[in-house]
Every structure is written in structure tokens, then in C-alpha cells.
């Protein structure tokens, strides 16, 4: 059996997810035993016509993005969205909360007509996404789990429960109890509760769980001393589109 051909593509994003893969230094050589990386702009110049698995980073935010993602979808057997921008629109989608004209004006000033821009959408709004790896940046253990599962022809197991679960398994003291903000109760797990474990709070980068009780979440945060406005603003940081 020949090695599967995999490719990485970036759309509107900081490319941090791609960088995160290059940070897998201890595993990179083993990884190359398993797959042929045929396209990876952050790391190499080569191009290919077809892929077994295409990993997509970043969100859709320009008309060109739409053309490109259709093209990639036609050439790949499996498509995996990587990171908050690709999966749920992420930080980029904050711009959707403002008028398109104001956003263009603010960013490009009088050159705004040179840059066609559309409301931000996740990859799944345009083409079929087979699997998702969430997080900002994407979680590398989860990325490896998806990759290994696909190589073995198995369905990856992706969690749809809250960060609270992983935080409790680690017996962390609740950060809400310490007067801090936290979105752990409604954010998807898979990060091993890394932020609360190291004294930070959960910013919700992995998006909300699938059956989100939005009103309940706001009421919950109000009981801990946060205003409705602050609760909603913080919830929308990574999840504007998921909370619509």
C-alpha cells in the first residue's frame, strides 16, 4: 500500500495551526514514515494535483476563498478542517457583528474598493467537511488522533462534551470559584483543560458544545458576577457564528 498523500492549505488565518504542526518536532519523522506530504506552503514549495487527505486552516472571507476551497474539495478524498477559524469562523467572524462597510473602511481606509471581502464563514458553510480538529491553535494530540484514525480507516473519536469534564478529571480547583471568568462549562473539550490547569480561564476557543443552552450560560455567568453584555461578548470571541 502506498502512503496516503496529504496536503495542508491555509485560508484566512494567522497560520498558527500550521506552525503548531511544525512544532511536533519529536513526532515529525515518524509522521513522514506514514504519509507523503505533497503540499504545505508553510514548510515547502512542491504542489500536487490530488490528495487523499486535505487539511484546511482558516476561514472563508473573500470570493477567491470560495473558488479555492471548491477546487481543493474536488481534488481530495477526505477534507479535515483545522482550528477555530476553519471549524467555526473563529476570531475572524467577529467582523460579521459589524457593518461590512465600516469594517472595510477601518481596515483598508480609502483603498477599501481594492479588497473584496465577504462575511466570514466556516469551511463547512461552503464545502463538505469530513472531520474537525478544534482549538486556537488546533490541538496537536487531536490532529494526530484524526490522522492516525484515517490512516487505519477508522472513524476518529471527537468529544462533544464540556471542558469542565477534563478539568474535573484533573481535579483542578474551579476558576469560577476563584472569581475568574470561564467558558469551560459550555466549551468543547479535547484540549485537556490546558488553560484552567495552568491558572488561566477557558476563553472558549474550541467552540461551544453541540446542544448549547445559550440563555442558561449567560444566567450562569451572571450568577458569578458578570454582566449580560460581558458574558455575550466573551462568548462571541471565538463563537460568533455558533451562537447565532
Amino acid at each position: 500500500m502506498s502512503k496516503p498523500k496529504i496536503a495542508f492549505f491555509d485560508f484566512t488565518s494567522c497560520e498558527g495551526c500550521q506552525l503548531n504542526k511544525l512544532n511536533l518536532e519529536n513526532d515529525l519523522l515518524d509522521l513522514l514514515e506514514l504519509v507523503d506530504i505533497v503540499e504545505f506552503r508553510e514548510a515547502m514549495d512542491d504542489k500536487a494535483d490530488e490528495y487523499d487527505i486535505a487539511f484546511i486552516e482558516g476561514s472563508i472571507s473573500t470570493p477567491t476563498c470560495i473558488t479555492r476551497i471548491h477546487d481543493i474539495r474536488r481534488r481530495t478524498k477526505i477534507l479535515v478542517a483545522l482550528g477555530a477559524c476553519a471549524v467555526q469562523g473563529g476570531i475572524n467572524a467577529i467582523k460579521n457583528q459589524h457593518s461590512a462597510d465600516w469594517v472595510k473602511e477601518t481596515v483598508y481606509g480609502e483603498d477599501k474598493y481594492l479588497f473584496p471581502s465577504i462575511p466570514v464563514q466556516p469551511i463547512s458553510a461552503v464545502v463538505k467537511v469530513d472531520y474537525e480538529v478544534r482549538g486556537c491553535p488546533m490541538s496537536t494530540p487531536e490532529f494526530l488522533h484524526v490522522l492516525k484514525s484515517l490512516i487505519l480507516n477508522r472513524k476518529p473519536e471527537i468529544f462533544d462534551h464540556a471542558v469542565c469534564v477534563e478539568c474535573k478529571l484533573k481535579e483542578n480547583e474551579c476558576v469560577l470559584d476563584k472569581g475568574m471568568f470561564c467558558l469551560g462549562p459550555i466549551t468543547r473539550a479535547g484540549c485537556d483543560a490546558i488553560c484552567p490547569t495552568f491558572g488561566q480561564y477557558c476563553t472558549g476557543c474550541r467552540g461551544v458544545v453541540s446542544n448549547i443552552n445559550k440563555n442558561g450560560a449567560v444566567e450562569m455567568l451572571k450568577q458569578h458576577g458578570f454582566s449580560t453584555k460581558e458574558a455575550l461578548n466573551r462568548m462571541k470571541m471565538f463563537c460568533t457564528l455558533e451562537l447565532e
Binding site: 487505519l152 470559584d177 470561564c182 443552552n213
Partner: protein, 356 residues
């Protein structure tokens, strides 16, 4: 377990007085006999059970630990097998049966272990849990109920000594130590310290629970036969965000999920299990994506029925021990006692409509 006052419960046992120094010496003495697991302070205002490395760090006047004692017998994550898919072989990790002494345990926590014993022995015995349960001694300590403890409402007195070999009761500058079993007596005989208890020290007070279920615990399972379609479940679902904290921290919940992870050589791997909970999205999901409990109302209902009805019907015991963790740590401030009391109100209203 009927409600008895503290005097009649404890006065039949032989007892000694330990001041604070002797108590610490006793912990050090226990440490020579095996791992001593006791409550320690963690973070700003929380406690957790840890193996004692320094007797002075043990905290005996604590409210409750974050994780229940089940973590010692069913770890949050454990590897069930290591496997190799190329040659189709597997090995099981060894589980230690070295002696363990659990020190400073509250009565509801001891009773939760008895409930777990029932759950893991009934049907197919669960060998990892039962192996870890071998060679264990439990030494209890009295506690002052806070606003979340409600063990009294589920029939477990503060000073219930069932399961303990020794029981520590706070006294002036130390503890009165009651010999509950011969095992406990042997430990005290070997330790050889501790003084006679004089009237100055033997002051047993009855502490009261602040949180209470309205009906006697014997009535609770019957209430649950009438409230399956109660509106209370919808009200709970409005507040609940489904984070699963109540499941994860419950001292009698035992559900787990199993997950295989393969290494990058795509050959070796391990099968891990970790705690799961019926409040979580995928718990009741089956092949094809159908979910039998796809909303928070039905999940909360299921959770409480597991505590007060389903296992109770089989075991004759409530499988809630009143530790209060689900309510104390719920980020949305949902109180289990309030849910049960609302159900009781709902039931009472139903009954008032019934005319002979």
C-alpha cells in the same frame, strides 16, 4: 440506618484522647503500614485526597474534597490494556494490592464506597475496582455540615461509623478516637499512645444539617414513581448548561467510556477508560447518530432517577449519599435538594387533586 443521636451512637465504643501532636504521630505511625491517603488543601479554598508525605499537611476539618474517594478505586483515567495490532497481542498493567489506609474520611464518603461496592460486584464483577479495594482500612472523622451537605436527608448520620475501623471526633485541642472494630483496636494497641478521656474532653454535640429534603428518605423512591413527567425537569433544563460536573464529582456515579489510542508506529497502542456521565452529549448516542436523551431535561431526570429510583429498586439503598458535591460545584448553582423538594411539591399538588 436509622437516625440516632450522637451519644447513643458513639458512647458504646471504647475511646482515647489524642492531642494534635499525638494525632500527627499517629499518622506517621500509619505511614509505616502502607500508603496513607488523606485530605490536603489545594488551591484557595478546596481540598483533595492525596497520599500523605508529611503528616503536618493533613487537613481534618475540611468541608469536602473536589473528587470523591472513588478516584482511589476507579481512577479518572486508567489504561486497561496495552496492545499490538500487528501480532494481535495485549498485556494488562499490574494493579497494586499494597495496603492502603484512608484517613480522615467523612461518613457519607464511606457509604458511597459501599454503594460502589454494590455496583461493581453485582452482575459481572469489575476486577480492577475490586483489586484496588483489597487491603484497605478506613478511619473516619466527624464533619460540620455546610450549606450543601444533606446526608441526613438520605439516611446517613454525620457520625455513622459503619465501614470505619476508627473514628475521630473533634475535642478540645485534639480528637477523641473511638475504637469501632477489632482492626482499629489492634492499631491503637500497637501505637500505644493516647490518654484517657476525661469529662472535660468528652463533649459530643449534635450538628444539624442546613440543607434538607422535605420528606423522609424512605419516601423518596415512591415520589419518583409519580414525577417522571413533572414540569420540574423543564425548569432544571432552563438553568443547566450540561457541563457534566454533577456526574464527574458524584461519589456514586460509576459510568465510564473506553478509548483506543494508537501510537505513530500504527502498531502499538493502549486502551484507556475514563469517567463519563449521563449529562454529556454523546452518552446516550448510538450508531447512526440517534440520541436517546437529546435534551438537558431528560438527562437531569435520568441522573436523579439513577440516584433515587432505578438502583434503589434493586439494592434497597438510595444511591445518593448527600455529600453535596453536585450542588456545591455546579457552575449554574443548581441544587439537588431543591430539585427533589420541587418534585415533592409537585407530587403533593397531584395528590391534593385526587378525591376519594
Amino acid at each position: 440506618m436509622s437516625s440516632t443521636d450522637v451519644k447513643s451512637r458513639l458512647e458504646s465504643f471504647n475511646c482515647y484522647y489524642f492531642d494534635k501532636d499525638v494525632t500527627q504521630k499517629f499518622i506517621s505511625f500509619l505511614m509505616k503500614k502502607g500508603d496513607v491517603i488523606a485530605p490536603h488543601k489545594t488551591g484557595e479554598l478546596s481540598y483533595k485526597y492525596e497520599i500523605v508525605s508529611d503528616a503536618t499537611e493533613v487537613v481534618l476539618n475540611y468541608s469536602r474534597t473536589i473528587l470523591p474517594l472513588k478516584k482511589a478505586f476507579m481512577p479518572p483515567r486508567e489504561t486497561l490494556i496495552n496492545f499490538n495490532i500487528k501480532n494481535n497481542q495485549y498485556t494488562k498493567p499490574q494493579i497494586s494490592t499494597e495496603p492502603k489506609i484512608f484517613f480522615g474520611i467523612h461518613s457519607y464518603e464511606m457509604q458511597s464506597i459501599k454503594r460502589l461496592d454494590y455496583s461493581f460486584i453485582t452482575g459481572l464483577p469489575e476486577s480492577n475496582y475490586l483489586t484496588r479495594r483489597e487491603n484497605c482500612k478506613f478511619i473516619g472523622v466527624a464533619y460540620k455540615p455546610d450549606e450543601w451537605h444533606f446526608a441526613g436527608s438520605v439516611g446517613i448520620d454525620i457520625n455513622e461509623t459503619d465501614g470505619f475501623c476508627l473514628y475521630f471526633y473533634p475535642a478540645k485541642n485534639g480528637y477523641i478516637v473511638f475504637e469501632i472494630t477489632d482492626e482499629g483496636k489492634n492499631l491503637l494497641d500497637e501505637f500505644g499512645e493516647g490518654s484517657e478521656v476525661t469529662d472535660e474532653y468528652l463533649k459530643l454535640n449534635e450538628d444539624k444539617f442546613q440543607a434538607k429534603i422535605k420528606f423522609h428518605h424512605n419516601r423518596i423512591p415512591e415520589i419518583f414513581t409519580h414525577v417522571y413527567n413533572s414540569k420540574v425537569w423543564e425548569d432544571v433544563a432552563q438553568k443547566c448548561v450540561g457541563c457534566g460536573t454533577c456526574n464527574l464529582l458524584c461519589s456514586t456515579c460509576y459510568c465510564y467510556d473506553v478509548h483506543d489510542e494508537i501510537e505513530l508506529d500504527v502498531e502499538n497502542g493502549q486502551r484507556d477508560r475514563f469517567w463519563d456521565g449521563c449529562m454529556l452529549n454523546k452518552f446516550a448516542e448510538v450508531a447512526g447518530g440517534e440520541n436517546f436523551r437529546d435534551n438537558l431535561g431528560s438527562r437531569n431526570r435520568h441522573r436523579l432517577y439513577r440516584k433515587f429510583k432505578y438502583i434503589t429498586n434493586q439494592s434497597d439503598k438510595l444511591h445518593c449519599v448527600g455529600c453535596g458535591r453536585c450542588s456545591r460545584y455546579c457552575p449554574a448553582n443548581i441544587s439537588l435538594v431543591e430539585i427533589v423538594n420541587d418534585l415533592i411539591d409537585d407530587y403533593t399538588k397531584q395528590q391534593q387533586k385526587e378525591i376519594l
